[in-house]
Point group: C3
Chain length 160, copies 3
């Protein structure tokens, strides 16, 4: 399999600068062979939310827009993983994604939106990207972002 | 203590076939001595949601109905654990359940509904079933299911 | 760095008695070098919710009130950690906080409320308190509490 960075290039994905958090927490922590990544919003390369990623999926935003926001969250997760690990090839596996969809009342197709994150992870990491997942529809998200995704990775070279 | 399968039989619980996910994720992953199980809905033996498990707890569904849905989620978690481990006696402990209740506006008795999952885990696993837990009421769940539950287990024979 | 208990004293924080759960789950579990703490509400020293911590942030409660509730959840997390570990100096690091804010419709400043928990963790634990974090706004919480926070810690003396 090609190196993860090669895949990103082939997919035309440029990882943004990892966004530092604005409060007393950190974007990720490493504990033994695990990398825990904080919930990521769909922030763009400029660190701001594109209006296309703001609002409730199923109301002002379509499922497709939700999927695009979830994909962007996953890209930001990989940016944080790269900042933490230096090299994305150190990822042995994406173990889990937790997906929170800013859902309009009565909109239950939250899994379809979250697929944008899951698909991106498998596109980039191949079999190593296949993860356990929990998806729910929440009432509100920071900055009224359409989707927030958190992640847990296993690191290859930290002895398990 | 009798084997877990014996307990299931004594309780009259037949584990369903583990439901495969319909997207780019997997029902569970093993990492070292941990088994992470994806969020499970209250799907029935036929892989479909019984109407009794659809809707908002505190509105169209009673607390009792919520509890029954949570119990079904826990049964599906055990089905996924069995599919992953082969033998449920390999479980050393259920470490954590995360419960998401599809809550009607103003319905805050979400813990009472989630007890259906916690009680099942202890009925089946005994002391090994006593877990840490987080329960929240969410706006929407996939398929408008009443409850979704995710789980983390410690595996007995993977050296901790 | 002074011992954690000294810091608590200097901050004027008296840890409450750890609140036992009222159902088939436990306040925390230890698995290898990890301590998983169940979602904690903002219960007071008497095990009850102060009215100031009840209701929706952004409606009946201000952001400041939400922040105070989140801070109280974090204090209760430390009380559970002390009950589990005996000595808070056994904490090597707070790895992750999961924050669930009982958000009024349209209130997206949930991260500002959750900062009350993150700030407390860093005040008390110093650099060891800097954690990964996920914050979402949920529809309902147990007892209509304003905030619920769960935690994951790494234990110093359990060999990683």
């Amino acid at each position: 399999m090609p190196a993860v960075e090669d895949r990103l290039r082939a997919l035309g994905i440029l990882l943004p600068a990892a966004v530092p958090p604005v409060a007393n927490y950190v974007p990720s922590v490493i504990s033994g062979p695990w990398l825990v990544v904080s919930g990521q919003l769909a922030l763009g390369d400029d660190g701001k939310l594109d209006p296309a990623h703001i609002g409730k999926v199923g109301a002002s935003l379509s499922i497709e827009a939700g999927r695009a926001a979830a994909r962007r969250c996953a890209i930001n997760i990989l940016a944080q993983a790269k900042a933490a690990l230096g090299d994305l090839d150190r990822i042995r596996r994406c173990l889990r994604l937790g997906g929170f969809v800013n859902a309009a009342p009565g909109f239950s197709q939250v899994a379809a939106a979250m697929n944008g994150a899951s698909d991106l992870m498998v596109e980039v990491l191949g079999e190593k990207g296949r993860h356990a997942r929990t998806t729910v529809g929440v009432a509100e998200l920071p900055l009224d972002c359409a989707v927030e995704v958190e992640a847990l990775f296993e690191i290859a070279d930290k002895g398990l």
